[in-house]
Amino acid sequence: MPRVRTAKSLAKRIDLQYFTQRTPFRRWRLLLSIMLPVLAVGWVIGQSALRNQQIYSSGPLSSAHAVFGQQCASCHVRGASYSAPVEDKACLACHDGPAHNQQQTFLPSCSSCHVEHRGSERLAATADFACTQCHSDLRTRDGGLRFDPHISGFDHAHPQFAALRPGYRDPGTIRLNHYVHLQPTLRGPAGAVQLQCYDCHRPTNVNEPWPYSVAVIQPASQQPVMVGLAEGQQRKRRSVEAGPGAYMSQIKYVNQCAACHVLQFDPLIQTPAPHDRPEVVHAFIVQKLTDYVKAHPEVLSADPNAFPAADISRNVLQPLGQLQPARNFLHPLEQGAPIPAQAARPSTPLLTADQWVGQRTATAERLLWEKNCKVCHKVTEGGGTGLPTYVKAVIPVRWFSHAEFDHQAHRMMKCTACHTTIPQSRRTSDINIPGIEICRDCHQQKGPGKQAAEGRCFECHSYHDWRQEQRVPGRFDIRQLRGSGPSAPPLSAGSDASAAAPATK
């Protein structure tokens, strides 16, 4: 009888209780379904037992906070909800957060701008939104607006720099012609010179001798003068974020001008006059001439014409064709030369010492007041003392009053790459800082993403004015900080942290 496969015969082959028995597949499925979750939970519990809090981290901390990596509760104050960002008091417990502007109507929380757990990115590298949430439609408490109220980014909606906007006037009072100073026929202390920008303009952190300082003509002097940062050059940012060479050294006569613009006032006196107020200069001249006549009484009986006054033309820039040999500021008498024959008449003195000093002083001061000083300074009417007065020299040390710039970061550039107007600048009133369009050639809002330099707000602007920073007392010891000791004291509403918060909060 052939083999027949009917539904009934097939059904008879099946064990009707088959579903009560576990097949290998079901056994494995059950085993894995139990083992895997248990292993996973066990791993977390094990990490907790080892006090490793890293496993809960939503991302690596910034380098500034990396040391807190094992101390989540240092910032995530207990009781804070997951939906709520880290509270400001946690930040303010360690450092101050100076207010931005007294007129701001909205005070963002620390963590809304400084987003943590993003790796080694600087916390100060905030998103543009942190700034534009107010500045794109700026409002102030008093209703007044001192800034452009619609700034939404650097690429398009950012005004030209204030110093280059119409109506701005250079506050500087020193006459300077960049064009002349960059000519190859310029007369230097030892012949023709071709000045370079770096000869006069250097970042503050450069500690090399100035090539045209007073030390060139007075090697024994204590020059050059070490010039610290001007008040205007104190950065709002923390110093760690920008090198000390961010700004250029202030221009000082003794450092940058003295070698060429010599203040020699009398051929008999080797030492140039000090670059100081007229009354100081006057006292210096009188003192020097008095000392000289005491040391050389023979000059009183000599023909005054035998000792001509200083060559008044020497301290003025001259074309190279009229250039004289290297200077020798010593008068022949001072160098040990004999008194000229026609001057050494053995007769009675023609002048008293006071008369001689008075005459020489008048001549010297005429030279200084009328020639040397006026080359750079503006004279105002005298104060009744017979001495001139000069307008206070104001050389701006910083052109961006609300932004930061770092020359050190741009050191690979030629100066004239950005300061394009310098070679042709002839007027003192020329403002030669680069315009925003030059910055935009390299800096773009999505800089790193577009293979361009950073162009977000934080690159130039700082929300906090760190010059106003208040010291916050420390609260950790090393064991607490590293997570090997008891936790840091908890923060509470009445803690020091809250007390450290800015008054505006």
Partner: protein, 266 residues
Amino acid sequence: MGLIYGSLGSAFMLFAGLLGARKKLPLWRVGRASSWMRGHLWLGLLSFPFILFHSGFSLGAGALTRALMILLIVVFISGLLGAALQHFMPRMMTSRLPMETIYDQIDRICQQLLQEADVLVNDLRSALQGELSRASEKQRAVAASAGTRGGLTYASGLGANERAENALAELFQRELRPFLMQRSSSNLAMADGAKAATFFSQLRVLLPREFWPKLQDLENICEEKRELDHQRRMHKFLHGWLLVHIPVSYALLALGALHAVYALRY
């Protein structure tokens, strides 16, 4: 916003995970099983982008969040694979496996096939031996009359039957029995339909025609075993992904709960 995405994604995953409970409790009449399956598929699918939004499209830097994201990706990919397999393979199995049976009963049925084959082969061998014994009597009578018929002696016919019986016994012991006994028999000659057909054709040549129906039954048994082996392989594809999907899903839910607790705590 991140919390909303995370909560929704977790809720979807939790619902998807409840499908297992629904299957364990078939009498739990909360919606139809097909609705639960659709919900499992769509909400499970939706949970993935929600969790991506929640995480800001990053794996996360903490070991826990990274483990969660890896588990989620494994669950998501295995789920997609499983959905695709469950969509196409049942149809394919219906068309390719007419003798498909309950997977859990395949071993039992294979045992039955082996027993059935044993019986058939024994019957065949007994029949052949009976022929031989009867032929011996005739052979003796023919030998006594010293006659031949058509040039073919009974002695030669007897030799053919003997060879057939030997060949059948050898085939059964060497090929058929191991093939029917082993779970994984793909390396055996009988696992190949063409080779098996050749074997049985050779046997047909050797066996008298009256034995062919039994030989055909034997061939059918082999064919059924081949189909059952094929079903076993396809079943592994069809359900094997569950060995990854279900345990990893449970691990994901367990770690997700811990993540929520720690996150809400801080």
